[in-house]
């Protein structure tokens, strides 16, 4: 007989833990921040994650989907997920009544290599919903400010109404310990927008970066990746200091179902954070 | 008789139909049973198809009597190609047809007719006051479906019954299981007879009818037979079915009508009981006597009682068939091998609503060259119009509101494939009696 006789005694990694949506904060159209707390206090208290990790969220009767944890591990207790309404599960999630029961399991994925990143400068580049995972990293860095050199955020949205965590981020603009560069693609005459205008890459003109003591973390739509990478590579950024979060179809989150496989890596186990070096070595990664 | 009528026919009429009645000067001018169901041109479309494709296509003429269509179609193909099937196949096919009969009759009685007699719009509404009865009806209906599924592979549109036999005959265990369910069903069908015996049957559509049904050589009541017997005393070989079903195209209908010697005739459960009722035995015979169906009925509304009797019959017969199959030992036999040749053949089955004919010709490559399908409802249409006319004449003084439902009741008694059985009655009464020439058309 096989040598896995004791495996049954382990807990079931697929079974979601009961949790409740304790608060929903509308962000922009079809995007909401969900504050979720595990029903079992011991789980709520002991739950720890790394920035960049994700959870599998189940809406009872509809299904399950992966979401990055938007809150920082430095502020445990509740988990925050910033969700875009786009399909079955997310639609059902948006329709749930207050305090609804959901299922959460995780955290999964590798997360950002924060230990390695410590002692370096951070350059966070986000577009659209890409801010969701980067927000976790941002607050992790700000709450552990002494461990990092310069912290810079570049975040672009189509217009001010499309900017996630807008007020939270606008408040950072005046902070001295972080360089928060917010930009919108185009400015409308009527808008009172004091920050930058133009695509994210134009923000590179406003920063000095030393590629050899900086980690860049990029998260956003595909086309943004391409242009941002061009900029970073022009500045001779080492390919293994460029970190990116990838999205794939995930049905299990724990490296079994196969869907998130790229080349020979599982996005759910070996990712979702990959270095650019990984990416160019994995077929179909980007 | 219109000589110009082509030989091919439209088959299915279930679905969207209607009634148009015109009364002029206190006299009935026109009574039309209209069929608006979109034509599907089954017969010419199936021309050119290989012999084994014919049944899967033509069984889909009708969902509710697809078992009968399947078997009639296979019999016609086999008769054309000279294929002899095994006794086991014949028994299984009969079982399939009995299953269809149980399902169809239960559906008609409990979901369409009984609510009618008791003044409810549907079985669902009926269930709020008579839950047990409705549940029983649904269980009987399910029994019919279970048989069709076990034998035909699917409750609607069997795929297991094929030319020459069955893809996979049921196992002994499956038959034993059916037997258990049938035994329970027999009790319920007797309760259904009691229920029907309590219904008050109005007599406004009473008039002499000519009945037609298949007649078998055997001693028992049957849904199969090589001859057509009529209550006029005439008999015909099924191959001569056209002499009975002289079809004509009528302007108000997408379906054609049948006349025998220029006269309308009726097929269906009541016709069968009228012609072959003496051959019933066991509980079915008792049920027939209990429901007073001993003499030739002139009231088509008695068809519901006839269906109740047949439900008992079909269950008893199914039990007999299963016993015979078990006695002989069910064999996992392959369908008979087909030797393709040119030929023509007719298959006929007593479907729930009456005699169903499929008639085909094949060329020497086994491709269909001609198909003719006559459904029971098509045969009944002229008789329905006759009964409607009588009813209108008998009820001429009634208001439009009370006349309409009664006419629907007449149509529904024929069980003309369910969807057209209900609500498509357009009553156009005399202008003098109604200010506007309004019409009521639902759907």
């Amino acid at each position: 007989m096989s040598n896995h006789r004791n495996a049954t005694s382990l807990e079931n990694p697929y079974l979601p833990n009961p949790a409740r949506i304790i608060r929903t904060l509308p962000q922009i159209p079809d995007h909401q921040l969900f504050q979720i707390r595990f029903e079992k206090e011991e789980i709520a208290e002991s739950f720890r994650h790394k920035p960049g990790q994700f959870v599998m969220l189940s809406v009872v009767g509809t299904g399950e989907a992966p979401f990055s944890i938007s809150s920082s591990p430095t502020r445990p207790g509740n988990i925050e997920l910033c969700v875009r309404r786009i399909g079955h599960v997310t639609d059902a999630l948006f329709k749930l009544p207050p305090n609804a029961l959901v299922g959460i399991r995780g955290p999964y994925g590798n997360g950002f290599p924060v230990e390695k990143m410590e002692g370096n400068s951070l350059l966070l580049i986000a577009g659209g919903l890409g801010m969701a995972p980067l927000r976790s990293l941002l607050w992790y860095a700000l709450d552990n400010r002494a461990k990092f050199k310069n912290v810079t955020l570049m975040y672009g949205a189509k217009n001010p109404d499309d900017m996630l965590f807008k007020y939270e981020l606008l408040n950072l603009i005046d902070r001295a310990d972080v360089k928060c560069l917010l930009t919108i693609d185009k400015k409308d005459e009527s808008e009172i927008w004091k920050a930058h205008v133009g695509v994210v890459t134009t923000l590179f003109d406003h920063v000095e970066i030393d590629p050899n003591d900086t980690y860049a973390a990029i998260c956003g739509p595909e086309i943004m990746f391409k242009f941002v990478l061009d900029k970073l590579l022009q500045r001779n950024f080492p390919k293994d200091r460029i970190l990116m979060s990838l999205e794939r179809n995930m049905q299990c989150g724990v490296g079994k179902c196969g869907h998130c496989m790229v080349g020979y890596k599982y996005t759910c186990l070996d990712g979702p954070i990959f270095t650019y070096w990984d990416a160019i070595n994995l077929p179909e990664m980007i | 008789m219109h000589k110009s009528i082509v030989i091919d026919h439209l088959c299915r009429v279930e679905g969207h139909g209607g009634i148009t009645v015109r009364i002029k000067d206190g006299k009935v001018a026109d009574v039309n049973m209209d069929i608006f169901e979109g034509p599907r041109f089954f017969e010419p479309l199936v021309v050119g198809r290989s012999y084994d494709e014919v049944a899967p296509i033509l069984m889909r003429i009708c969902a509710i009597c697809s078992a009968s269509h399947t078997v009639a179609s296979l019999m016609a193909v086999e008769s054309a190609l000279g294929i002899e099937v095994s006794t086991q196949t014949r028994l299984l096919r009969e079982l399939l047809v009995q299953g269809g009969n149980i399902e169809s009759h239960a559906l008609h009685l409990f979901c369409l007719s009984i609510p009618d007699f008791l003044g409810y719009p549907s079985a669902i509404a009926l269930a709020s006051d008579h839950l047990q009865e409705v549940k029983m009806g649904l269980e009987l209906k399910k029994l019919g479906n279970t048989i069709q599924e076990a034998i035909g592979g699917r409750a609607i549109h069997s795929m297991n019954a094929v030319v020459g036999g069955f893809g996979r005959p049921p196992t002994r265990e499956a038959l034993l299981d059916l037997k258990g369910q049938l035994t329970k069903g027999l009790e319920q069908s007797l309760a259904a007879v009691d229920l029907v015996s309590g219904l008050e049957i109005p007599d406004f559509c009473t008039s002499p009818n000519i009945y037609a049904a298949l007649s078998s050589d055997g001693s028992g009541y049957s849904l199969f037979g090589d001859r057509i017997a009529l209550s006029t005393g005439d008999t015909k070989d099924i191959k001569m079915y056209k002499e009975i079903c002289n079809e004509r195209v009528v302007a108000h209908s997408h379906a054609k009508q049948s006349l025998f010697k220029g006269k309308p005739f009726a097929v269906g459960a009541l016709a069968r009981i009228a012609l072959n009722g003496e051959k019933l035995s066991g509980q079915a015979k008792k049920a027939k006597d209990k429901l007073g169906l001993s003499s030739l009925s002139e009231n088509m509304l008695d068809n519901n009682a006839a269906q109740a009797v047949e439900m008992v019959y079909s269950i008893e017969r199914s039990l007999d068939i299963i016993d015979e199959l078990l006695r002989e030992g069910i064999k996992q036999e392959e369908p008979v091998e087909v030797r393709i040749r040119a030929g023509a053949g007719v298959g006929a089955v007593e479907a729930p609503r009456g005699t169903l004919y499929h008639s085909y010709s094949f060329d020497k490559a086994g491709r269909l060259t001609e198909a003719d399908v006559i459904t029971p409802t098509a045969q009944n249409l002229a008789n329905i119009e006759k009964d409607l006319r009588i009813s209108v004449e008998n009820l001429i003084d009634e208001s439009r509101e009370s006349l309409g439902p009664k006419l629907e009741m007449v149509v529904r008694a024929y069980d003309p494939c369910i969807s057209c059985a209900v609500h498509l009655v357009e009553v156009n009464l005399d202008e003098k009696r109604i200010s506007k020439k309004e019409s009521r058309r639902i759907t």
């Binding site: 096989s2 896995h4 979601p16 189940s58 299922g103 794939r248 869907h259 | -």
Partner: protein
């Protein structure tokens, strides 16, 4: 390893005796030509000289469709009451299929352990049986024509007897339970076994080189072969279903009519399906059928090697034998290689 001998005339008795160790499953006829593993009550049902069953043994441990747990609006997600898994004895498992199970063991263990798989796997006894390759088998090329572990007993045909290798203590118990049926092996048995082994080796009709394939796959990533295969492939999923090492699955929730309770289910999935790499919003990472076919080959022959140090193909020939479009893994590999040579 303990090795004994079972005279062929004792096989029926021995197999019947196994029922005290669990329900016996063995290859039985399915249709006219096909075979399948199924429960047997009568030794005569067992097809001893079979080549392959339609599905490999994975169907028992990783079921085609399986309930994971239940849910309800009030209670959330709950594991159903655990029923003790039935003990099964699988008789007549060929080496490639044993290797297939060993690969699934790897996949379903690791950091996260798939209990559904192991609960059943741990209640299974495997009795292997040697075989003669047919025109589809290439397990010699994949190094899976012999096994040295993963079975409780393994039977090799040495003419009048079976040479029986005892792989586990459970296997030993099985032998012990009917000790009188077994004999000690003698010198000529050992010679026969070696002879048979050579005979088997020489009877392979297909040989392919796989050791350097990962590198070649990388080189041929953009080969026009993939485009051609994409045109032929029907995306029917057959290859994934029948493969002993395809383990992908999809998860879905099945609701009861009350619209508030139900079950979370999983079913076998295939990377050949259009939806496989589709993500919300409509982006499909493998929208082209050619990229999906390529993925299947890459995962088996390239990706799995990086992950687990060996390809996941065990050379059972099922995908080749059952692909309606006639896509032939051996031919594909040979084509990839010959393109290199040019």
């Amino acid at each position: 390893m303990k090795i004994v001998k079972l005279p062929k005339e004792n096989l029926a008795k021995f197999v019947s005796s196994l029922s005290s160790f669990g329900q016996i499953h063995a290859p039985v006829k399915r249709g006219e030509k096909s075979l399948a593993f199924g429960p047997v009550s009568d030794f005569a049902q067992i097809q001893l000289n079979y080549t392959r069953t339609i599905l490999p043994l994975k169907k028992y441990f990783f079921k085609p469709i399986d309930t994971m747990f239940n849910f309800s609006a009030e209670k959330g997600y709950e594991l159903p009451m655990e029923e003790p898994e039935q003990r099964n004895v699988f008789f007549g498992v060929h080496p490639c299929d044993i290797h297939g199970l060993k690969i699934l063991d790897l996949v379903f263990s690791g950091r996260y352990v798939d209990n559904y798989y192991f609960a059943r796997r741990n209640n299974a006894a495997i009795i292997g049986l040697d075989c003669i390759p047919d025109e589809f088998c290439f397990c010699r090329s994949t190094g899976t024509d012999f096994v040295d572990s993963g079975f409780d007993l393994f039977l090799s045909d040495i003419d009048e007897s079976y040479l029986v290798r005892v792989g586990t203590s459970l296997g030993d118990d099985m032998v012990k339970a009917t000790e009188s049926l077994f004999r000690d092996i003698e010198k000529q048995d050992r010679e026969k076994y070696k002879g048979k082994s050579i005979e088997k080796r020489e009877s392979f009709q297909i040989q392919i080189q796989l050791q350097d394939l990962p590198g070649i796959m990388d080189l041929e990533y953009d080969s026009p072969i993939w485009e051609e295969l994409g045109q032929d492939c029907l995306s029917c999923g057959t290859c994934s279903m029948v493969c002993p090492t395809c383990y992908c699955y999809a998860v879905f929730d099945e609701l009861d009519l009350d619209a508030s309770s139900g079950r979370r289910m999983r079913r076998w999935d295939s990377c050949l399906f259009k939806d496989y790499a589709l993500v919300a919003g409509g982006h499909n990472f493998r929208a082209e059928r050619s990229s999906r076919v390529k993925n299947r080959f890459f995962h088996k022959q390239r990706g799995f090697v990086s992950q687990y140090g060996r390809p996941s193909c065990v050379g059972c020939g099922r995908c080749k034998a059952y692909c309606p479009a006639g896509i032939d893994i051996v031919e594909v590999i040979n084509k990839l290689r010959s393109e290199i040579r040019v």
